[in-house]
Amino acid sequence: MKFSILIAAFLSASSLFGIEPTNAQLQKALIKTTLAESETQKARTEIIKIREELAVEIANRDEEAAKRAEAEAEMEAQAQKILEKNSSMHISVIGQGVAPMNTSSPAQAYALAKRAAIADAYRAIAEKVKGVHIDGQDLIKNMMVKRSTIRTSVKAMVRNANIVETTFKEGLCEVEMEIIISHSDFAQ
């Protein structure tokens, strides 16, 4: 009995003494929670800021993409220029020609190669201005391509083309040719 009373007294005393540290712990915990709350608030504000920044960045990227698309569209429009009324278009091509084997002199070889290069340049101009007819045919036998044929043809009339530059190197003649076409040239 004595021991039990003593134990009870000891426990009650210890419990009495033990209240104060738990309060302190609670206070500490409260402080911690307040700190944590403030940190979470800070984190939230940061997240909001980051989200805003991300939204701005996304908007910027979208704008850049739109600008790029516009630039590409402009480039394509320039590449596929349409000849409008009261406007002209400049076309430049390079034609290549080879001298025949049986020439009597280098001068003749040059003259003939140049003529062939001019014809090639004319062909290139005609292709650019009028377009090319293309016809293809593939013969397949026993799951194998036996014969593949591509035929292209151009028919046109070219006038007022100018030779800009002529180079002759190692038997190959290159002629740079230009033509300025206007809408009135095609008017009927």
Binding site: A116, A119, R147, T149, S153, M157, V158, R159
Partner: protein
């Protein structure tokens, strides 16, 4: 017939008629055609045909070319003397292009034909120069 001032006026008229007819006779019409074939980037069969026009042509002279004349009345010779200049002029006038290309099993062959269809030219041959102009 005698004029009031004597024969002076008549002789002047006669001289002017002779001069004008001689000028008209010199201004003759020629038919010119030009063609060449380029096969696989090599030229073949270049031909420049020049002949007097049997019939008079219609149209007005345009895009004149003036060549130097070294006392020769033959147009063939005159053109052969100034061949490069004349061919450049013909190219400027306009050539028909007919191009065909064939690729069989990745091996390419091509043929290009450039043609100046037979065109009537008015040619004035003088002592120092020749004026050539197509009639359109």
């Amino acid at each position: 017939m005698r004029s009031r001032d004597g024969n002076n006026n008549l002789t002047l008229r006669l001289c002017s008629i002779i001069f004008l007819t001689s000028l008209a006779l010199n201004a003759s019409e020629y038919l010119i055609s030009y063609r060449y074939v380029v096969k696989d980037a090599i030229i073949f069969n270049e031909s420049l045909d020049i002949s007097h026009a049997m019939k008079s042509c219609n149209g007005k002279p345009q895009d004149k070319l003036i060549l130097e004349n070294t006392s020769d009345s033959n147009l063939n010779k005159l053109i052969s003397q100034n061949q490069e200049e004349f061919l450049e002029y013909i190219h400027k006038l306009g050539l028909h292009i007919e191009h065909k290309e064939q690729t069989i099993n990745l091996q390419n062959t091509s043929t290009t034909i450039l043609t100046l269809k037979t065109t009537c030219f008015k040619v004035d041959i003088n002592d120092n120069f020749v004026i050539i102009a197509p009639l359109k």
